[in-house]
């Protein structure tokens, strides 16, 4: 009997030892990764407070969900597109649309040009709808601007800006690679591709893959450009920034970025003028900070995470 007990004791001990060694080996792998495995953007999130020349005031809080498009009309009204509707501030009411607009512009006479992902819908003042055919291909419309003659539509999917007449029809293609004329083509890795009009009426388009802003004549010929790649506050970082921009009345650029969410103003030559909002003023990971500017230089930032249009005014 004693022998049996002894044998079983040994058997259990050996099994326990094997189990113990297994557990030890498993646990012993639980070391931390070394310093070279640290990934931190904290350094780049810090902004010198003296660079921040703007202060935030009360935001606009739309009653729509999923806000995604922003425009300042020539009469100063703010148009916000979201889930199945467009809301106009102040007190302009809410108008239904079929889906979520991806971009929007408003003409002098109140006509709205609404980008619905792959096509443009025109809404007259009386909310009558006209639909322009989609540019086709992989169309993904991300920005619209309108002047007296033309409607410019940025198409991130096809990497083109389409210039339409006010009546629609076949658009002129802007941005096809044309080395002879100095057009390198738009490099758009993700669906962020913004356009705006300069004070002289010429077209500005962001070329996000190059961290560049490019200026074109209405016929698509390039005029000038500037670019700045840097994680530092002076430049743009990541694979596609600035994600949005708008021109100030004096021709300087308000830019918004994704990755390191921040809103800044760059002078006409691209040099940094000041910061409007630093990364710590936004939720981490926010994307789609569309920006717009009114005649007084007030800056509107569509914040999809908070579902608000945040407003920034220059400090006294």
């Amino acid at each position: 009997m004693n022998d049996i007990r002894k044998n079983w004791t040994w058997f259990i001990l050996i099994m326990a030892l094997i189990l113990g060694v297994g557990i030890y080996l498993g646990q012993s792998r639980r070391t931390e990764l070394g310093k070279s495995f640290d990934y931190s953007l904290d350094e780049y999130r810090q902004v010198d407070p003296s660079l921040i020349h703007y202060t935030e005031v009360e935001p606009l809080v739309p009653t729509l969900g999923k806000i995604s498009a922003l425009a300042v009309a020539p009469d100063g009204k703010i148009y916000v597109g979201g889930e199945d509707a467009v809301q106009v501030f102040p007190d302009g009411g809410t108008f239904p649309v079929d889906g979520i607009p991806t971009c929007m512009a408003v003409d002098d006479d109140g006509t709205m040009f609404v980008g619905m992902q792959d096509h443009v819908e025109i809404r007259s003042k009386n909310w009558e709808k006209t639909v322009w055919p989609s540019p086709g291909g992989k169309a993904y419309l991300t920005s619209i601007v309108v002047d007296d003659e033309y409607v410019y539509v940025a198409d991130a999917g096809n990497r083109r800006v389409w210039r339409y007449d006010k009546a629609g029809g076949k658009p002129l293609e802007i941005g096809r690679k044309d080395s002879a004329n100095g057009v390198r083509g738009f490099n758009i890795p993700s669906p962020f591709f913004d356009v705006d009009l300069g004070p002289d009426g010429s077209l500005w388009a962001v070329n996000p893959g190059y961290h560049a802003l490019e200026n074109y004549r209405p016929d698509g010929m390039p005029i000038s450009s500037w670019e700045k790649s840097s994680f530092m506050i002076e430049g743009f970082s990541g694979c596609c920034n600035p994600s949005h921009f708008a021109l100030m009345p004096d021709g300087s650029f308000v830019t918004a970025e994704k990755g390191l969410p921040r809103v800044k103003i760059h002078n006409v030559d691209g040099s940094l003028r000041c910061v409007v909002a630093a990364p710590d003023q936004f939720d981490e990971g926010v994307v789609g900070l569309d920006v717009a500017v009114d005649d007084e230089g007030r800056i509107y930032v569509l914040d999809p995470n908070r579902n608000q249009v945040r407003i920034f005014e220059e400090k006294e």
């Binding site: 058997f11 953007l41 790649s229 970082s237 990541g238 694979c239 994704k258």
Partner: protein, 185 residues
């Protein structure tokens, strides 16, 4: 009549064998049920680094996957280049991956292709973080099933702070971000 000592030894050997055979039988019965394997839900993973440190295998059975159909083929790839990279080139000082597991190949101006060398990848997830923050999120972590030994209790699943590990059918062992994507290694 057999000697008593011999019989006791034989009884013990039989008993011990029965315990071992029983264990094997129970585990083989378990393996008859539909086979499940461990996998990472890319939407839940927060790239905490434990996939690299907690796998029972060294290097880990978790590797970076790269989806061509999502990738922007960016020159300035947030998954390839360090945030403080001085230049956009293949210089070791500019690369984010601590094990140099990502190769960069020029395709045509301004596009580059990024490939993961599975032998060098340890599943640390740093590139995934960089790609998520600045790119399209085309890089993500997956348990590689030709390496994983499918532990009953996956040590990483136990340690995962984001509840990103789940059991999936062995017939569909990957949680790919895009149907069109092809695994590159």
């Amino acid at each position: 009549m057999k000697p008593k000592g011999k019989r006791k030894r034989r009884d013990f050997v039989r008993g011990a064998a029965a315990v071992l055979v029983g264990g094997v039988a129970v585990s083989s019965l378990r393996s008859c049920s539909p086979k499940l394997v461990w996998q990472i839900d890319p939407e839940k993973c927060t790239q905490c680094g434990r996939c690299a440190t907690h796998c029972v295998l060294a290097p880990s059975a978790v590797k970076c996957f790269h989806s061509y159909s999502i990738c922007g083929y960016c020159d300035l790839c947030g998954g390839y280049l360090r945030p403080d990279a001085k230049k956009r080139n293949t210089g070791a000082e500019n690369q984010l991956c601590p094990t140099a597991a990502i190769t960069r190949t020029f395709i045509e101006n301004p596009y580059y292709q990024y490939k993961i060398d599975e032998d060098l990848c340890i599943g640390c997830g740093i590139c995934v973080e960089g790609c998520d923050v600045f790119g399209n999120g085309s890089m993500y972590l997956q348990v590689k099933h030709d390496l994983c030994v499918n532990c009953n209790e996956c040590a990483i699943a136990h340690a995962c702070p984001s509840d990103a590990f789940k059991r999936v059918p062995a017939s569909e062992p990957y949680l790919l971000k895009s149907d069109r994507e092809k695994r590159i290694s």
